[in-house]
């Protein structure tokens, strides 16, 4: 049946990307590149695995099993939770790593070096600059 074949292809893509994420987490040299591997690959792989579970649930529902509808809808809820929380957490980790002083390994230019983010602005520095400009 071609329907099962489709489910197997989705599962293979998802497992491939999840293992690739773990492997990249071991091999990359730096916090930011590891974050790139460990977040994006696992998000992409988990989209495919949960998609295969949703299709399996819809198939069970179509064949007359009512549990299939519960499986599909709850898995869709889990997928929405993953898609909302994972990129936000990755962004928070990258921001915290940069502010705690971890540098990229082979980076030539750090564009954020002189820009202070909003709540970390040194107020005395701004005041003295303003006074010097006035004089």
């Amino acid at each position: 049946m071609w329907f099962n074949f489709f489910i197997y292809i989705l599962l293979m893509i998802g497992v491939f990307f999840n293992i690739l994420g773990g492997f990249g987490l071991l091999r990359f040299p730096d916090v930011y590149t590891r974050l790139h591997a460990g977040t994006k690959c696992t998000t992409f792989g988990s989209i495919f695995i949960t998609g295969s579970v949703i299709i399996l649930g819809l198939k069970m529902w179509y064949l007359g099993n009512i549990d299939g509808s519960i499986l599909a809808i709850h898995t869709a809820g889990a997928l929405v939770a993953i898609l909302l929380t994972n990129p936000t957490g990755a962004h928070a980790i990258a921001r915290a790593a940069h502010k705690s002083g971890v540098k990229p390994v082979d980076a030539v230019l750090d564009s954020l070096q002189n820009k202070s983010l909003k709540h970390n602005v040194n107020k005395k520095k701004i005041k003295t600059e303003k006074m010097e400009g006035g004089k």
């Binding site: 579970v53 499986l71 709850h74 939770a81």
Partner: protein, 89 residues
Amino acid sequence: MIEFYNEYVIVLIALLISITMAIIRVIKGPTAPDRIVGLDTINTIVIVGMVVFGTAFNEIIYIDVAIVYALLSFISTLYIAKYLEGGEF
């Protein structure tokens, strides 16, 4: 008779391999953000693993557990990142 999907059990074993690699990164990460990246990856894979486990053994309650685990692990990740960042809460 318990319905049992063999292919999802194989997927679970593959996810365990990925979790093992992330655990190695957590143990030997040179800095603290490396360890947090490993923990975040483990959280995502555990969520998917719960969904796959619930499908493989026909226990739909595990998928609800996965949703709650996703939200709680997100809160813990944000809290640790805020702690690393320093400054005022």
